[in-house]
Each structure stands twice: as C-alpha cells, then as structure tokens.
Amino acid sequence: MAKILEGPAMKLFNKWGIPVPNYVVIMDPNRLSQLGEANKWLRESKLVVKAHEAIGGRWKLGLVKIGLNLDEAIEASKEMIGTKIGTAEVRQVIIAEMLEHDEEYYFSIIGNKDGSELLLSTKGGVDIEDNWHTVKRLFIPLDETPSVESLTEVALEAGFEGEVAERVGKIASRLILCFDNEDAQSIEINPLVIRKSDMRFAALDAVMNVDWDARFRHADWDFKPVSEIGRPYTEAEQQIMDIDSRIKGSVKFVEVPGGEVALLTAGGGASVFYADAVVARGGTIANYAEYSGDPADWAVEALTETICKLPNIKHIIVGGAIANFTDVRATFSGIINGFRDSKSKGYLENVKIWVRRGGPNEAQGLAAIRKLQEEGFDIHVYDRSMPMTDIVDLALKS
C-alpha cells in the first residue's frame, strides 16, 4: 500500500484524461511569482494553497488556505514553507486553481479480491459520509473494462442527468483505465466538481494509493510513496527504511511515542502478536519492529541500536517464533553487538531485556546472548519451551 501525494496523483490523472484543475507544486515561494508571469490562470483565478506533505488534518493546522489571489498565495506559501508539525516540516506547497463550480460529486474505485468496485454519488463534498446511501456501486471483474455506455447507465442510475451523465460515464471509464494501468489500489476523488456554464469538470481533491510492489513496471513513477503510518517518518525510521531497501530479508521500525516496552521482534506474523501481548497485558509499546528473511547481522545491529535509543523504555522484548530459515546465531550476534555498543554509549540504564527465540542454530544464539548477563546486562533468556508471548507477561509482572 503506498499513498501518493496530490501532485503525483494529479499527474497520473492528467495522463489518463481525468480532468484536473490547473496546479503547480513549488518549494520556493519566489518561484510562484515567476510562474504567475507565465500562467494566466494564476493571475486571474482564485487559488488554494495546501502543504504538499503527508500531514493529516491539514485544514485544522492552517496548512490549507483558500480563496486567495496570487499575492496572497505567495504570502501563504511563505508562511507554510518551513513550518514544523511534530517531526515533519513543510517543504513543498501545491497551488491549485479554485474552480468556481455548481455541483460536487463523489467518485472512487477500490480493489477487492475479484477485481474492483466503482462508487459514484451526485452528493460529493464534505458531507459524503451523511449521504453514503446515495452512493451507487458497480463491481468490475478483474481484467474487464466496462463500456462507456454501460458506465453512463450507471451514472443515470446514480442520479446524474443528460449530458452530465454522459460526461460522468466517460470520466468513470478513464478512472477505471487509470486504476488498472497504474496498478492502483484505491482512488478517491472528492469532490469532482462541475462548472455548468462551460461543462468543465475537475477533480479538486483526490487520494490515491498505488501498489508499490508493481513499481518495476512503471518507468514514470518518479515519486516516492508517503508514510503509511499516518504521519511523516522520523529520521530513525527513515534510516531503517534505507537499510531495508539495501538488504536481503527486511528490517522494519515504527516509533510509538510514550511507550515503555520496546519491541525487537522477528517475523511479520509474530511481531504483531508481541505488540498485541503488550497491549493485552496493560503495557504500552514504544515501537513496532520486525526483522525477517534472514537479514544481515549488521542490519539487525543497526535496528538494535535504534531501539536502544528510544526514550524512557523499561523493557526490550527480543522475541520471535521458531524460525524456518532465519539464522538465530547470526541475527543474535547483530543484536548482541548492538546491545554492547548501546551500553557503552550510556543507553540501557535500568532497562530489562527479555529474550525468547527458536530456529536454526538456536542453541548457539541463545547461549551467546545469555553471556551478556556476565557483562552486567539485566537480561532474561528463554528458549522455545517458553510460550512465545509469555516473556511479555514476565516483563510486565517484574
């Protein structure tokens, strides 16, 4: 799942003939005044300025300004660029034409296991949730492309009329083409607006998710997906992602501020169960982490050091199921080095470490990490005979 920003989404819409308003993405407000000299619409239309970053709730944060002329838009851009929201900083803004319009529609398409589903409503806009009953749905089987005529039929059923219905049918057809050809997972346009005087349509706001695994067949995907965790990535998260992109297997790391129990867990399935166990026993997690697919020891070492730096943690859970092919001795040597290094730098004061793991070379790996006891670590090591998540119970009861 990879959510992409409005700019790249607009670019893909444009490619597939879905009407979008005029827009520009800038990093330097001075560039906007130059763009104004080149583009009539910037001088003559009302404009909207939005922070072009993966920041939720932009409206409430004052990162969306509407109804501006060019000078006001330049001013608003200057104000927004450089604003810090938590760990995120606004580096880009998108300036778009505020199309005067008569009606707002709702368009979306989302993949499911048999194909996808198209949703249409004549009652788009901020109140769509309240008008959910007006949404007309069309199931589109995998690899089938409905004709413009049949889509116009659906538009008529959804309450669109006459020429508008025909145009909506055409736009729906292009939306389906865009969805299929761009390996999209979901596209939501809300609102799609219409100015009836010249029958001009435009997708004023859109959220698009593409399948990042399919990037190998999209030469023009020059964007990066935005954070999947509802906020921009922190520096530490970014570093682990960079390592992840370079290695066989994977390492993952997400910070959860305020938690007391840090997770240094293995495997995509088991790691979630460890997080669940902490929550179920009334604890709070300081992060989510996962290493899997027999990653290099240095990558696990980097993950370990990152986790040791988490503020105010009381426990570290070095957990995992019985691995099929991840070498316990090798990955644990990375963890051991990470612990040693962190301790020498003053981390891990008053932190208890709880270990449970099985898999190839488990005896050697567990024996090696157990030796940390002799170096003054508060570490408790268990083998496969300890039920997987029970070290969490032990930690939280200690």
Binding site: V254, V256, G268, D276, A277, V279, A280, N324, P387
Partner: protein, 610 residues
C-alpha cells in the same frame, strides 16, 4: 493422512539459489522419513543444463536445471507440484506457466512483493483450471511423515522436535511463515503433532483462503482439529467463522488473531504483513475476527501465548472422547541422524583427517593474513618493508636492519636489464602479440634457466660447498667442479670482463663488505675463485648471479630460495615492459628475413607417398 502434499508429491522448483537451498532442506525431510527425493527438477534459465548437488542424508543426488518448464515436465512426468522461488518481476509469468501445465495440480509461491493485480490474476487462472495456487509469500506446506514443500519446519533438529516424521491429529493454517513453524511446535508439545500445515502468505489477496483448506481438513479423517493463526485485515478469518457456523463440523477450530494492538495505536498507524492493513474496530479488525470466530464456536485465546493451553485442552477432550487414540511415542533414538559434515565432526573431535597439505609460513584464517605469525598490518605499522616480508615468507625470520638493506639492494639491482635479454624480450614479443599481462610475463619467466638468470641457486650451492669441503683449496674445488659439474655456476660473463667489470657486482661486493658487518665466507670464497679463473681467461669473472647467490647464502637463505630473488626482481621489469608496450600500442613483431640464415634444403618436388 494429509492435505495438499503427500508421499506421491513430486516437485519442480522454479527459481535460482533460494530454490536450491529449499531443495536441500526438503531433501533432509525426505531422508528423515525415508522417501524419495521430492524435488525432481529446477527451472532457471541462467543456469540451464547445470546439475545441482542435493544430499539426501549421506547420499548425493544430482538434480538438473532446465531452461523452461515444458522440458522438465517431459523428462519428469511424475511432477505434480510447482514451487515458485523466482523474483517478483518474473513471478507472474512463472506461476502462470505452472498453472497452465497439465500435470501440475498444486502451485505454491514463496516470492514476496508480487503486485496485487498479478496475484489476483493468478488466483483467477488457477480457479479456472481447477488448480490450487498457494501464496504468494508462503513459506510452504508440510505434511508430517509425507512431504515437505519449501523450508517450512526449519532445520533438521526442529523437524524431530516438532514430531514431523509422523502424522498427528492437528491441522495448521497460518498467514505467517514463522508462526506456521511455531504452531507445529505447539501442536507437538501440547498435542500429538500435525497432519498438514499450510502457510497461505500474508499478502492482501492470497491465492487460496482459509476456508478452502478448512474444507480439505474436514474431509481428512485423521485431522481432528485445526489451529488457525489469522490477523487483522481482509475477511478470510470472518469467512472461516462463517464456514464453521454454517453446519455441523467434524473438526474443532482453535484460532489466534493478531493485530488487537491497533485499537490503541494512533490513528492510521498500521504495520505487519501487507494484508494486515485494514480495520480498526469495524469489519476486518482483529477484535471483530476474534468475536466472529468465538461466536461460531472456535476456541480463541486472547494472546498467542494462550494457544498452548487451548491446544492442550482440545487434545485432552479429543482423547477423552476417543476421537484420538493415544499412540506410543516413537523413540527418537530410532530416527535417522543427519550425517554431519566433515567440519562438524572435526569440531567435535570425533574424526582424524590426514591433512592434504601443510604450510609453515602464513595463515589467513583470522581477520588478516599473518606471515610467520606476524599480522601484515602490524608489520606495516612498525616500519617493516617488502624486503622483510620476503625474508619472513622465504626464510621464516625477520632480518636485521642491515640484512634487509642488502635484500632490498639485491632486488633493486636485479629488477630489469633492458629489453634485449631473453626474459624481457620474451615478454615484449608476447605483449606485441596482444597477450594479456600474466601470460606475457610468464612468457618472459620461462626464459629463466641455466643460461639466463637461473644460476643463482647453483652458484650459492656450490660456493657454499666449496667453503665447507675445500677451505683454502681453490684448485681442489675447481678440479672437483670440472669433474662433477662442468663450468662453475656464477663464474663467467658473455660481455663483461676484468677490464670491463660488471658495475652491479662491484657495487654489491663493496656494499656488503665495506658498509655492513655481515660475515661473508661464501662471497670471500667466490672472490678467491675469481682470482684463479680470471688468470686463465679474462671474462671468467664472478658474475651477478654468483655474487647474489653467495651473499644470500651468507644471509642464511635456504638454498632453493635463491633463484626466487631473480624471478621476483625480474617480474617487476617484465611487468614494466608489458605496460610499456601496451602504452605505446605496440604492433605485432616478427623477425626480418635478413636476420635469419635459411640453412634449409632448396625447393624440391614432393615425392609420391609410398
């Protein structure tokens, strides 16, 4: 009994090194339960035609790599299963071919990162062909006592610990690979082990769902209960709950669902498998799945740790009801042991292996090479030079500062002698013929012998003998040499003479005798010999080979190392000549006719063959 994979399963693995590693693990299982090799063929175009070595216990099998699926199936018509290990960008095509191949009934895909659309298409295609497409991102399928597909089950020791050599009564269904292994272990510890275990992979749109396999388990009389490990996202667990509730089921269902932690996480924060991406509290959430399964009659502990107790409880109930008959445990001692590798046995000290070679000079088994015990970097740090390394590797001792200065001078003085001498000329001819450096340098190197540069060893050897056997008796030495060897090695020069001395010789002799404190019995002896021989003939001087040979003997180098100084030094020169010719882009050379005396018979007719 089992589902999906059994004793008749024969597989082709499509993919490279990961597939070969899986085949090795699978062969360990084949060995454990004494069945024929499961993997019959590999398909991997870059390595087509190769044979991969697979050990089934101590027995070495060769499995052929084919360029495509069709010929592999033609030669191995018994293949009924395909395992896809190839990269994501080629995964769709590989799986499609396998699904469309008539003899293949089951396709399991381990490849991760398959685009969703590709996975959906493969599922649709498999459905249309009536095949099972398991995965993507599946660690594999295990049928205890029957067949292992993929690395599911981990290392050999674990196969035994999880009782996978014989069938139990529990089926296992998971998305995660690691948890499939964990669940098999729990079934062995708290119950009587598994019938089959299937990992369906954690992608958003897996090729096969839980219900398909629950149905199969329901129809497998030996499976009495199923342990299912699900997680937040999608609706496969809800569908499993619906299936369970839909009619009276023979099998018991125990389930653990991951992802309840999302309830307390900040809005929008999601992690885990690709498929674990939807639902906070509504449909698709871990909680709703747990509730649906509990309502349908499944046993659902609130954490994964609770699975042990739940399995034990169901096992006891099934024993009590007589559905499971207690069977005597197999004594693990009767199970085969994986033959250890030579390295493993040696580590334990249980075997003696006669070494093939012995070395006394260097060791690279540590972080860096050590010469006669000294780390190379430490030698550098302490100011030692290449001449000290030569002494260490050729004579196993660190020379004194005076000695290494002599060694350095010997190498410097011998490094090159112009293009005309045999060695350099050989290298130059080769370089001009476009030959690469190592071969061109060895062309020059082959010239080194009795007439060119190769007299150092023998000179040193015989002068040393002279010192020992003919002290103060040069005529005796010369007559012995004449009778037994011939001309004295190290004496005589083609162009140099008393009147036209060799500067290299006079420099070395002067340096060693007047600027160092080296004791030089050999050199002294040779100089005495020279006095006698030059009296007979002007050019019978001590030459550079003889000088170097004597000095090196006086430095206590081993006799047979002596030619090495010339070989080493001239290598520097020959490399130089090769580089020089290449820099100039020198053309191919051949001798001019006028440099050759054609002393052959005149042209004449060829007689008829008799």
């Amino acid at each position: 009994m089992s589902i999906l994979a059994n004793k008749d399963t024969r597989a082709v693995i499509i993919g490279g090194v990961a597939g070969v590693n899986a085949a090795k693990r699978m062969a360990q299982f084949d060995f454990l339960i004494n069945r024929p090799l499961t993997v019959q063929a590999f398909v991997y175009p870059p390595e087509a035609g190769q044979q991969k070595e697979i050990f089934r216990g101590g027995e070495l099998k060769n499995v052929t790599v084919y360029s495509s699926l069709a010929p592999s199936l033609q030669e191995h018509p018994e293949i009924n299963t395909a395992l896809i290990y190839i990269g994501a960008s080629r995964g769709y095509q590989a799986a499609k071919e396998a699904i469309e191949a008539p003899g293949i009934k089951l396709i399991s895909m381990i490849t991760e990162g398959i685009p969703e659309k590709d996975a959906k298409r493969l599922k649709k295609l498999a459905d249309a062909h009536g095949k099972i497409f398991n995965g993507p991102s599946s660690i594999g399928i295990m049928s205890a006592g029957e067949c292992r597909l993929g690395v599911i089950g981990g290392e050999f020791k674990n196969l035994k610990l999880c009782n996978l050599y014989r069938a139990g009564s529990f089926g296992v269904l998971t998305k995660s690979g690691g948890l499939s292994n964990e669940a098999m272990w729990l079934c062995a510890q708290n119950g009587n082990g598994v019938t089959s275990a299937v990992a369906i992979g954690g992608d958003s749109f897996p090729g096969t769902d839980f219900v398909t396999y629950l149905e199969m388990f329901e129809n497998d009389p030996e499976t009495k209960a199923v342990v299912m490990v699900g997680e937040v996202g999608g609706s496969l667990e809800e569908e499993a709950a619906e299936w369970l509730a839909a009619s009276k089921r023979r099998i018991r269902l125990i389930a653990a669902i991951g992802g309840t932690c999302q309830e307390v996480l900040p809005q929008g924060m999601k992690f885990g498998h690709a498929g674990a991406k939807e639902g906070k509290k509504g449909a698709g959430s871990a909680r709703s799945k747990m509730n649906a399964l509990r309502e349908a009659g499944a046993l659902v502990p609130d954490t994964f740790g609770g699975l042990s107790k739940a399995i034990k409880q169901v096992y006891q109930e099934l024993l009590a009801s007589g559905d499971i008959k207690p069977e005597p445990e197999i004594d693990e001692a009767v199970l085969p042991q994986l033959p250890p590798s030579v390295q493993e046995v040696m580590k334990q000290g249980d075997v003696v292996v006669e070494p093939l070679i012995r070395t006394t000079i260097s060791d690279d088994r540590g972080e860096e090479p050590r010469y006669s015990g000294y780390a190379a970097s430490e030698l550098c740090e302490k100011g030692y030079g290449i001449e000290d390394v030569i002494a260490l590797l050729w004579n196993k001792r660190l020379p004194s500062r005076e000695e290494s200065e002599i060694i350095k001078r010997i190498v410097m003085i011998s490094a090159d002698h112009g293009p005309a001498v045999s060695g350099a000329f050989g290298s130059i001819i080769a370089a001009c013929a476009g030959i690469d450096m190592p071969q061109a340098v060895s062309a020059g190197m082959t010239m080194i012998g009795p007439r060119f540069g190769g007299a150092v060893t023998n000179a040193g050897k015989y002068f040393k003998m002279g010192v020992k056997d003919f002290p103060n008796d040069i005529p005796g030495f010369l007559s012995w040499m004449k009778d037994n060897v011939g001309p004295v090695p190290g004496i005589g020069h083609r162009v140099k003479s008393l009147k036209n001395p060799d500067k290299r010789v006079s420099y070395l002799v002067d340096y060693v005798k007047n600027h160092t404190s080296l004791h030089t019995p050999c050199l002294n002896f040779a100089l005495e010999v020279q006095k006698i021989t030059t009296a007979k003939k002007d050019n019978l001087i001590l030459n550079v080979d003889g000088t170097i040979g004597c000095i090196l003997m006086d430095l206590d180098f081993p006799e047979h190392s002596l030619n090495g100084f010339f070989v080493l030094a001239r290598t520097i020169g020959m490399i130089g000549h090769w580089i020089d010719q290449n820099n100039q882009n020198a053309r191919l050379i051949r001798l001019y006719d006028y440099l050759i005396n054609y002393a052959v018979k005149p042209e004449r007719p060829v007689p008829d063959k008799k």
